[in-house]
């Protein structure tokens, strides 16, 4: 040992207070919230989501009013003004799903994931915090958009149709259901992003699951196409933001919604397992 090696400086006086170990999850929620709101793409994606749900809903309703006199008796009898005004969700779900994917994959793409897991070695707790923060944001934004789309839609539809009211059976459930649907979809996006880590791959998986798979299943001979089709996420889950209108081949509302949630749960759990096992 040389002279320099032996010269160890005296112990340092620490200046920063140590946080309490019980509040770690709160600290992580705060960190993920800071991350989410400090990039512009979040704001844009959420604005696009609201614009699609409200704008597309209004457009659909206006088109329906324009064609009101040419509708057949069946169409009139099964018409669901609530679900109709919320149809923008079918497109907006992609914006929320993709944003969910990016919550995870943008960290892998930039290498920031190493800072994240370096600062918090409890990786599953980080994933949980991301899920909670993003699902709450998706729910709140979805709720605002769905209520707006519902009220605007009913105002437009009232020109030719009997408009739905929030007090009617199933209506409030459908409007809030739209927001819940979007929150669960966000979780599915985060789950796929965690499993695949690459933005392109995870978005492809999301679009495939939501939009491409139904087309492919449709090509199967019946009754397979309907037997399998009803278990696909979109078909199983969309009843939650509609009132009635289920055909006999569909899953019942809550069974369908459970199946829809199961996709998100499986993706998140698989992601959590891989997250712990893999190098960051």
């Amino acid at each position: 040992m040389t002279a320099t090696d032996a010269a160890v400086a005296p112990a340092r006086i620490r200046s920063l207070p140590q946080p309490s170990p019980t509040s770690q999850f709160v600290a992580l929620l705060r960190a993920e919230w800071t991350k989410l709101r400090s990039v512009r793409s979040t704001m844009w994606s959420l604005l696009v989501t609201v614009a699609i749900i409200v704008g597309l809903g209004a457009l659909f309703c206006a088109a329906r009013v324009a064609r009101a006199d040419r509708l057949g008796p069946d169409e009139l009898r099964n018409f669901d003004p609530t679900g109709f005004s919320l149809n923008g969700i079918f497109l907006a779900q992609l914006a929320i799903g993709v944003l969910g994917v990016l919550v995870m994959t943008s960290e892998y793409a930039t290498g920031q994931i190493r800072a994240t897991f370096g600062a918090t070695p409890q990786r599953r707790l980080v994933l949980t915090a991301k899920l909670v923060v993003f699902m709450v944001v998706a729910f709140v934004v979805g709720l605002v958009a769905c209520f707006a789309a519902f009220f605007i839609g009913q105002a437009i539809l009232s020109a030719k149709f009997h408009q739905a009211g929030l007090g009617d059976p199933g209506v409030l459930r459908a409007v809030v259901g739209g927001a819940i649907y979007l929150a669960v979809l966000g979780a599915l996006g985060i789950g796929l992003g965690t499993i695949l880590r690459r933005t392109a791959g995870a978005i492809a998986a999301l679009v495939g699951l939501l939009l491409i798979l139904p087309i492919l299943v449709n090509f199967l001979p019946s009754p397979w196409s309907t037997d399998i089709g009803k278990f696909l996420p979109l078909q199983a889950g969309n009843a939650v933001f509609h009132v009635g209108g289920r055909s006999s081949t569909d899953l019942s509302l809550w069974v369908g919604f459970t199946v829809f949630c199961a996709y998100a749960v499986v993706a998140v759990v698989l992601g959590a397992v891989l997250l712990k096992r893999r190098d960051a």
Binding site: T4, R14, G118
Partner: protein, 309 residues
């Protein structure tokens, strides 16, 4: 104190780190040296629990890194400077880091000030030069006022003024009693900043010693002697069993004797000396010598020379 014991990391059939054991002691700047691709970054990642060793064990302060809930208070690391979301400002990047470890936001502004980034704190980090990113990375490492700092190639991309700044910073951090573990592929850089060196090549330990010892270990030292009677002196020294290499007309390079011994021989024979000096290999030479067999990519010296000419 960082302790690595028999650490091996395999990626498929490639062995990135091979049965590596070393100790980084408290209150010193320890340089982690090796050619590019020697396994330095992999080792750094394993220290902070990002990559799991295939076998072996690494502890900081006696326990694995991942045992901590708020590790930034104890260990700060700069791994890749550019590994930051480009759309987020420097300040927001540090803010989420601070949030995750229960560190106050005023501390964020303090470290930004300390690394000289206060004026660009609100700018998106994607617009930063590599040098500015390095400073931000160092700010992130210092955020929790940690006792242990790990810095992977911190001077990469810095201008001379920045390099100077990092050097001073490392020395002052160590003088405050912190443990600093800093990697580099530049021996000359480490010669100026490090107390102790851990040298690896192809994932294996080559040397673990003080800077002085590394030089001594890597190449034998020589004595240069200049005399008008060089030939006669050479014969006497050879008779004593040491090696002599003539250099020019009147100079000799002696291996295996100290200056003192050469002086005694010369005065005994009444030989006049113009110069008698100890020739130390530079740290750079020592490093080249040690890692010659382990450099991953060796340039063909003929091609390299040709391209310069």
């Amino acid at each position: 104190m960082i302790e690595a014991t028999g650490v091996t990391k395999r990626y498929g059939s490639t062995v990135a780190v091979d049965d590596l054991s070393f100790t980084v002691r408290d209150g010193l700047v320890t340089g982690f040296l090796g050619p590019n691709g020697a396994g330095k970054s992999t080792t750094m990642r394993m220290i902070v629990g990002l990559d799991a060793p295939s076998s072996g064990r690494i502890t900081i302060g006696g326990r694995p890194y991942h045992d901590r809930r708020y590790p930034l208070h104890e260990v700060g690391a700069l791994l890749e400077a550019k590994a930051i979301h480009p759309g987020r400002s420097a300040r927001n990047h540090l803010r989420w880091l601070a949030d995750s470890n229960g560190i106050s936001r005023s501390r964020v502004d303090d470290v930004l000030e300390q690394v000289g980034l206060s004026s660009v704190a609100r700018k998106r980090s994607g617009t930063f030069s590599l040098g500015m990113s390095q400073r931000l990375g160092i700010a992130a490492a210092m955020l929790g006022d940690p006792d242990v700092l790990l810095l992977d190639e911190p001077v990469n991309g810095l201008d001379p003024e920045g390099i100077q700044w990092v050097r001073h910073l490392l020395r002052s951090l160590a003088s405050e009693g912190r443990t600093v573990f800093v990697s580099s592929h530049l021996m000359s850089e480490m010669a100026l900043t490090a107390d102790h060196l851990i040298v690896i090549g192809r994932g294996r330990l080559i040397a673990d010693a003080s800077v002085g010892e590394v030089i001594a270990q890597a190449s034998a030292n020589h004595v240069k002697v200049v005399s008008p009677q060089a030939a006669a002196l050479a014969a006497l020294i050879r008779a004593g069993g040491a090696d002599v290499m003539p250099e020019g007309d009147d100079a000799l390079i002696v291996t295996g004797l100290e200056c003192r011994d050469v002086g005694i021989i010369a005065s005994g024979a009444g030989i006049t000396l113009y110069e008698l000096s100890r020739q130390e290999a530079s740290l750079e030479e020592a490093f080249m010598e040690m890692t010659r067999d382990s450099a991953e990519y060796l340039a063909d010296p003929h091609i390299a020379a040709g391209s310069v000419a």
